[in-house]
């Protein structure tokens, strides 16, 4: 499949179309909404299903030692990307150091829904991928946050710094984020119970999966549209541009790293997608605790209103193509 065909096929997938439906509904100020409890349920389901599947896959294939290398690579990417992002933001935008650090953290961390959408594309393309990438996704969530904190520290006035409660407490608050716990927990349960477990929960975590993603993406579209309506006022075009080119930079970086990893083609595409994706569940919550003075309207709008739609509609096929280049 050429990159173009891929892009078209992707744009006409139910996932992307439901996202578009949500986006347009919300931009048109329709009163279509997904109740908060349902949105949280869909997220919970997604973490459970994707985690469980990954665990079962690992139980099947066993852990080859490559995992360690991939994990380290993931951690490194998550920790370094914010440095690039921070520098670019400070150069190209008027964002304060604190705001820039907060935004950068989102791009170092990962978006599990973008990852899920990418795995779906792999399935349609019939590309296999390493199950343990779920675990890699999980470990990539937090390092970016630490980098951002260090970047912000230097910028913070000492008064504030005094106020901060200990790094330790903060890390506990952040590390035990519900979605991360659910993802890792389900991964381990899938690993332990393997095929036996999968047989029992398959109709729930496999058969429903795609339909639930469609609903979830409808919701994401509604939120993204709201973010655009709200946030665009507060965002400069330089900031918006950052939301579009930063994923490409991360993707390029990841592609280079992948040259050294020998993952499967599908795995490479997913690894690149992880690097290119920007968090909007775990990191925003963490930023409210760690860098409360950073403006949520900026980082939420950028990651959810700009980068997520871009990755979903154009990024993923691009990353698959990029993976082809890396592997070919």
């Amino acid at each position: 499949m050429s990159a173009i065909d891929l892009a078209l096929a992707n744009l006409l997938s139910p996932m992307v179309l439901f996202f578009a439906l949500g986006l347009m509904a919300s931009l048109a100020r329709s009163d279509l909404t997904v109740p908060e409890a349902i949105a949280k349920f869909l997220a919970l389901y997604l973490m459970m299903a994707i985690g469980f599947k990954g665990g079962v896959a690992v139980a099947k294939s066993g852990l080859d030692m490559k995992l360690v290398g991939v994990m380290l690579a993931g951690i490194a990417l998550s920790a370094l990307i914010p440095l690039i992002g921070f520098a670019l933001l400070r150069l190209s935008t008027r964002l304060s150091a604190i705001d820039a650090a907060a935004v950068a953290a989102h791009y170092g961390s990962i978006s599990i829904v973008t990852f899920v959408a990418a795995t779906q594309t792999m399935t349609t393309l019939g590309l296999a991928y390493e199950g343990y990438l779920i675990a890699v996704a999980a470990v990539m969530e937090t390092p970016a946050i630490l980098t951002a904190l260090l970047l912000a520290r230097k910028a913070r006035d000492p008064a504030r710094r005094a106020e901060e409660e200990g790094m330790g407490a903060l890390l506990r608050e952040i590390g035990l984020n519900g979605s991360v716990v659910m993802l890792i927990g389900s991964f381990l349960i899938g690993w332990i119970t393997g095929d036996r477990g999968m047989k029992a929960v398959a109709p729930f975590v496999n058969d429903l999966f795609f339909g639930m993603i469609c609903l979830f993406l409808l919701d994401m579209g509604l939120i993204a549209g709201r973010g655009m309506r709200e946030g665009m006022k507060t965002l400069s075009w330089q900031a918006i541009a950052f939301g579009l080119y930063m994923p490409l930079i991360s993707a390029g970086l990841a592609a280079v790293v992948c040259l050294a990893l020998d993952l499967s083609l599908g795995g490479t595409a997913l690894m690149i997608t992880l690097a290119a994706s920007a968090s909007y569940i775990a990191v925003p919550a963490a930023m409210r605790l760690a860098l409360p003075e950073a403006k949520p309207s900026i980082y939420l709008t950028l990651s959810l209103g700009v980068t997520f739609p871009f990755n979903l509609a154009l990024g993923i096929p691009l990353y698959v193509w990029l993976a082809g280049v890396v592997k070919g």
């Binding site: 608050e173 919701d219 509604l222 409210r288 403006k295």
Partner: protein, 103 residues
């Protein structure tokens, strides 16, 4: 029926910082508090809505604490320290109760 004057402290705070406020109230040994959900709002940080939200960031909850007028200062001071750093507001109003010992 006789009633007694108390103060009602109402805090609107962003969800991620809720636990910090509640832990502080526990430390301050208030007799109790009640947390109310909030579905939408607007403030200096712009407007927000809860529905469809997955992340806790950018959404609010409301904490109400009824306490003795004498205690207000001691409670507001440290709570304001937290709230002033986050997205949120504090209001105080009068109210009467039937069981003074309860608050």
């Amino acid at each position: 029926m006789q009633t007694f004057l108390k103060k009602r402290i109402a805090i609107v705070i962003e969800q991620p910082a809720l636990n910090r406020v509640l832990d502080k109230l526990d430390q301050l040994a208030v007799t109790g508090y009640t947390v109310y959900p909030v579905i939408a709002g607007r403030g200096r940080e712009g407007s927000w809505r809860a529905d469809g939200m997955v992340s806790d960031a950018g959404r609010m909850v409301s904490v109400v604490c009824v306490c003795d007028p004498a205690k207000v200062e001691a409670i507001i001071e440290p709570i304001y320290k937290i709230v002033s750093r986050q997205v949120g507001i504090i209001t105080i109003s009068d109210c009467e109760v039937i069981r003074p010992d309860h608050f």
